[in-house]
Amino acid sequence: MSGKILMKTETFFTIDMPYRERMDIRRTLFSGGDGSRVAVVAGLHGDELEGLYVCHRLAAWLEELQKTSPANLLGTVELYPAVNTLGLDTLTRGLPVFDTDLNRAFPGSTGGPLPERLAAALMSALSGAALVVDIHASNIYLREIPQVRINQDFDDLLVPIARRMNLDLIWLHGAATVLETTVAHSLNSRATPCLVVEMGVGMRITPDYCDQLVAGILAVWKDMGVLAPDVALPAITHMPLIADDSNVHYLNAQTSGMFVSSTSHWTDVRRGELLGTIVSPFHGGVLSEVRSPVDGILFTLREYPLVYEGSLMARVMARAGGRS
């Protein structure tokens, strides 16, 4: 056992911009022994910050380990906290200038324009890892409880890992061809396991959720032999429910206005219970009442109040045995 952790922050992708500057994308590596290599990716969307904070908390934990018991890192941890560097630095969800959703550019190619090259560089960096966790933070409109989303094509391998990640929900979804261009699908279909975590809300951080996920990631890394079996970890306190397309109910706005919720996120709701109202700033009446269609758990709740007819306000997962 070497008993040392080598830590370095380095540029793994660079490209020239039109006027003198270069766009550099950096990662931080923590290398211990010859055990498994694992990675965390965040900030593919420039308005999603929860994953950046998770990377910070993981780095803080690993730096502490470096000081106190470095021999407990048996493998290598790679943190890619800010993949859409320019988007994060400019409050833009997509890749600025290219107006592209980076998570629709995979697997990319080495010779084309920036989004393609960046995707290819990230694929090349992550391929062969024992596990990649790609952290997303919903968007500015909706707040999500900590959850893993898994394409049913890969559920045999991924669900057992996801169960141990200290999250509240595993959402199995059908295969959608448009999602084949995500980093997770591209990695999973090339034999590098990748879990997609969704939690919190865009442009904010939710420290409790981040700490919850940090505990789960560390526990999984210990199971995989990246961390020593006897290393002390934060407690696992959450067990996930399983949702799929058959028990998730969507509540879309029947009219436009301001949605004001009357219940808190991540609570049990009864069929017919009032979840919120849509009101108008021009007068005092209620335009529409939003009620739960089933007995279940409110796992998505609108954060941004204005809605158009059709805007998603909430998702409720029906409880087994509940009325629907």
Partner: protein, 314 residues
């Protein structure tokens, strides 16, 4: 006749609608459906279709006695109405791409409801035409784009009389486009790509306007059209005929070349300058002899950006 495809409410402004023109004899379904402005910044298509509606309405009013509209034509100049007014490609409220929301549905997101209404109005037409441009950074020669076409579509594509017909496979990425939803239905579907976003390019618009009138004549919807003998041949370009030049260096790209011209191998088509020092750092030349079908218009280049595309005649 103007009809509203869909009327919707908005959070604080008045409700809005998506209007269309229905011109010609009444029938259960239009013979030809033309759509533009799924992306709000693609103004060439909006302009072409509003002008076409004006022309066909004039035909109906008897202003062109030699012409007769014998089948119904449906025209939606702009689907993303608010996007046109606010000059944004996507639906301005939630930044979703309307051309990634098909087939849509009546109880889903706002943009899914819009997609559903547009698909319902157009899907049963014999011929369906969706007009797009490239981005604001790039100019495309006016062309017919075919996505995984049938032999009938390959043959019909020539009836537009545009110089370039380009075939592409239907990639999984495009599953949620209007084109992919159209293809489920009997009938033929075409995309026209015309110039660049954010502007009206009069030459391109006039050329495509004429090509649409000729098309309506050739497919027997508009009787009495004198089909001009084309002075340019129609070229059918397979995917493998495209040669692209990417920026090996970042900088400022300048070119005075026009799309739709035939170029020689090695012909100079533009220069890349260092944006700070002003030095010429690269001379951009055509890799092959062929038709210049697309060229970069935004001068500022990232390393790796597409500069131009030349299609070689087979």
């Amino acid at each position: 006749m103007k009809r509203n495809l869909l009327c919707m409410t908005a959070p604080v402004r008045e409700g809005f609608d998506i209007p269309c023109h229905e011109i010609g004899p009444k029938s259960a379904h239009p013979a030809v459906a033309l759509v533009a402005g799924l992306h709000g910044d693609e103004i060439n298509g909006v302009f072409i279709l509003s002008r076409l509606a004006d022309f066909l309405n004039s035909v109906e009013e008897g202003k062109y006695p030699e012409l007769k509209l014998v089948k119904r034509v449906l025209i939606i100049p702009a689907v993303n109405v608010l996007g046109v007014n606010l000059r944004t490609r996507t639906w301005p409220f939630d930044k979703t791409d309307l051309n990634r929301m098909f087939p849509g549905n009546t109880i889903g997101e706002t943009t899914e409801r819009i997609a559903y209404a547009v698909l319902e109005a157009t899907k049963r037409a014999d011929y369906r035409i969706d007009i797009h441009t490239a981005s604001a950074d790039f100019e495309e020669v006016p062309q017919v784009r075919l996505h995984g076409p049938s032999d009938a579509e390959r043959a019909t594509a020539r009836m537009f009389g545009l110089t370039a017909v380009m075939e592409r496979s239907l990639s999984p990425v495009f599953t949620t486009t209007m084109m992919a939803s159209w293809k489920v239905w009997p009938g033929e579907s075409f995309v026209l790509r015309v110039g660049q976003a954010g502007t009206v390019q009069l030459d391109h618009c006039q050329r495509v306007f004429r090509s649409l009138v000729s098309f309506l004549g050739r497919v027997g919807v508009l009787e009495g059209v004198q089909i001009a003998v084309e002075d340019e041949e129609v070229c059918y370009f397979e995917k493998s005929s495209a040669f692209r030049v990417y920026a090996e260096k970042a900088g400022t790209f300048v070119s005075d070349r026009q799309v739709g011209r035939w170029v020689r191998a090695g012909q100079e088509l533009g220069y890349i300058y260092d944006s700070f020092s002003g030095h010429v750092i690269e001379k951009v030349v055509s890799p092959v002899p062929g038709l210049l079908t697309g060229i970069r218009r935004h001068p500022l280049l990232f390393e790796g950006d597409l500069i131009l595309r030349v299609n070689r005649k087979s």
